[in-house]
């Protein structure tokens, strides 16, 4: 019955959350600038050496070419971190109890967080890609492949944001909420995002090959090189949909459960 207001209530909550991001720049600027700093750090500090390992004599520009797609994926993971913090912060406020006593579409509160986080992710992505282009990254992708990259990254963002919503709901405090998604930032390092997987020792390599960030990074890297994403693309989509479905169910359960006191 209240689902007739699903869109309207979600839009209202989205406006509220966007205003929060605007009024709390300390939180919203972090995911925008953190990937840029990583990009500059890895390319200019480590890139000269790392690039030679990618292509013999490739140096800095070879590494930028390798890293940029990985860093784009890393950006999505970084932005999702903020979701857990803002959801956890919201849940400590009395206004959530007020929302629950009103006849509104229940998941609207969560939907607002998901869409505002998605907006923040897209802004972060635009800044990361612009910086990469500015320092010399020249992807070969045609518009169709760019579109596919955007689609895949959006899928990943939705998946990680829902996961982060669930983290925000289960966290007992804002402090725990900010720590929980930390592993989301670690996973790209243990994937093909920063260095090729076959350069890792056996155990790490096995893990890297079987975790979602490797096929996602590989798919993005292929698409940006104007190649088909192949089986990595299929794996990436399956991972994203599976994480989204599981996290959504989990988050809804956490939000709707009756509190213990």
């Amino acid at each position: 019955m209240t689902s007739t207001y699903a869109l309207r209530d979600s839009a209202t909550m989205l406006r509220r959350d966007l205003r929060h991001l605007q009024r709390y720049p300390g939180l919203s600027l972090y995911p925008i600038f953190m990937p840029v700093i990583f990009l500059l750090l890895f390319v200019y500090v480590f890139g000269g050496t790392l690039g030679n390992g990618i292509t013999v004599g490739g140096g800095r520009s070879a590494y930028l070419n390798f890293l940029a797609p990985g860093l784009v994926v890393f950006t999505v993971a970084g932005a999702a971190q903020i979701t857990a913090i803002s959801v956890a912060k919201d849940m400590t406020e009395g206004i959530i109890a007020r929302f629950k006593t009103m006849r509104i579409w229940r998941p609207a509160v969560l939907a607002g967080h998901v869409f505002s986080s998605l907006a923040l992710t897209l802004i972060s992505l635009a800044v990361t890609v612009a910086t990469a282009l500015l320092i010399g990254y020249r992807p070969a992708a045609n518009p169709l492949h760019w579109l596919a990259v955007l689609g895949l990254l959006t899928l990943l963002a939705v998946a990680l944001i829902w996961l982060s919503v669930a983290f925000g709901l289960i966290a007992k405090s804002v402090e725990t909420a900010s720590n929980m998604p930390m592993f989301l930032l670690l996973l790209p390092f243990l994937s093909s995002a920063f260095v090729p997987v076959d350069s890792m020792p056996a155990g790490f390599r096995w893990f890297a090959e079987n975790q979602p960030f490797t096929p996602i990074t590989d798919a993005v890297r292929s698409l940006l090189a104007n190649q088909s994403a192949g089986s990595a693309g299929v794996k990436a989509i399956v991972w994203c949909l599976a994480i989204t479905a599981a996290s959504y169910v989990w988050a809804r359960y956490l939000y709707n459960r009756r509190p213990a006191n």
Binding site: R19, A97, R258
Partner: protein, 324 residues
């Protein structure tokens, strides 16, 4: 509302436990439409739990609760449609301005944009928040937050309003403003269910008062009816020394056993003639009075009268342990 003469709220045999801790132990009450009902009790009596059940935030373990004719467990959305809730803890959005907070509520009540904004303006004015309307709520004082909170509750013109300790922590002036607002709501025919720790608040606002103690209703009636159950007030008189106390006790015909050697507690019905007589008797006996205080019945007295314990929950726990 299906039947205009049916009660706005009914609770039948409401029970709720958290683990082994029984919080509500078979509550029954009815609140007439358009009346103000006060649930009076100390901290930890179960008041907030009752409000949470009434406002669909919590399910009772047993019993039936109906608000505006709807069962809160089976028809929560119908209940949410007609109620407004101002909880004990501030439910305003700190990062939004006062006006934005109210606009948020208007949108969530699905009011059309124009009339919604018009209502926002009116409420800002009515609650004296127009000047602060475009400041973030985090800059508001306690009293302003509470007013904003209540204004947000009223956006949807609810039939039944729940106020959980609406004046706890407010300064006397804000408290008075709050009372005036509640009175004007009642005058407009809104049913108000409020919880409070203060007898004077229940006395001032409520048509019907129920006293909650450890999850049970120990008394119910109008404030007047309840006060008649309470022994009258007393006059506390302080003396300079024990001799003065003994002389005074003799003059007033009172026993001195069990009393503080420097004071007397004289029961009184609170009227001036009694006070005058006590003072004259003390004067006639030539007793020097160091200090005198008139003590009118308060929640402590009500509790003591009805339960044989003080209202302080910490104190009652120790007494309970002594009994074991």
């Amino acid at each position: 509302m299906t039947n205009p003469s049916s009660p706005a709220i009914t609770a039948v045999d409401v029970r709720k436990s958290f683990g082994d801790n029984v919080v509500l132990d078979g509550l029954e009450f009815a609140v007439e439409q358009g009346s103000v009902f006060a649930l009076l009790g100390p901290n930890g009596a179960g008041k907030t739990t009752m409000v949470r059940i009434l406002t669909t935030l919590l399910d009772a373990d047993r019993g039936t609760v109906r608000v505006a004719g709807y069962d809160v467990r089976r028809e929560p959305d119908a209940v949410r449609d007609v109620i407004g809730v101002t909880g004990q803890f501030s439910a305003v959005d700190d990062l939004l301005t006062g006006r934005e907070n109210l606009a948020l509520m208007a949108d969530l009540h699905h009011l059309p944009h124009g009339p919604g904004r018009e209502r926002v303006g009116k409420l800002l004015e009515q609650f004296e928040l127009t000047d602060a309307a475009d400041r973030m709520a985090m800059t508001y004082s306690g009293g302003m937050r509470r007013r904003l909170d209540l204004a947000m509750t009223l956006i949807g013109a609810p039939q039944v309003i729940f106020l959980d300790e609406p004046t706890t922590g407010l300064d006397p002036r804000s408290r008075r403003t709050m009372w005036e607002i509640v009175e004007s709501l009642a005058d407009d025919g809104t049913t108000v269910f409020l919880t409070t720790q203060y007898l004077d608040e229940a006395d001032k606002l409520a048509d019907q008062v129920a006293i909650l103690d450890r999850g049970r209703l120990v008394a119910e009636g109008t404030a007047q009816e309840l006060k008649q159950q309470i022994p009258g007030g007393r006059i506390d008189v302080q003396f300079a020394d024990t001799d003065a106390q003994l002389v005074a006790a003799a003059a007033l015909g009172m026993p001195v056993a069990d009393q503080d050697p420097l004071s007397l507690q004289i029961p009184t019905d609170g009227n001036v003639a009694t006070l005058r007589r006590v003072l004259r008797d003390l004067d006639d006996a030539g007793v020097d009075v160091v200090d005198l205080a008139i003590h009118t019945p308060d929640l402590d007295d009500v509790f003591f009268a009805l339960t044989g314990r003080g209202a302080d929950p910490a104190q009652s726990t120790t007494e309970e342990e002594v009994h074991r």
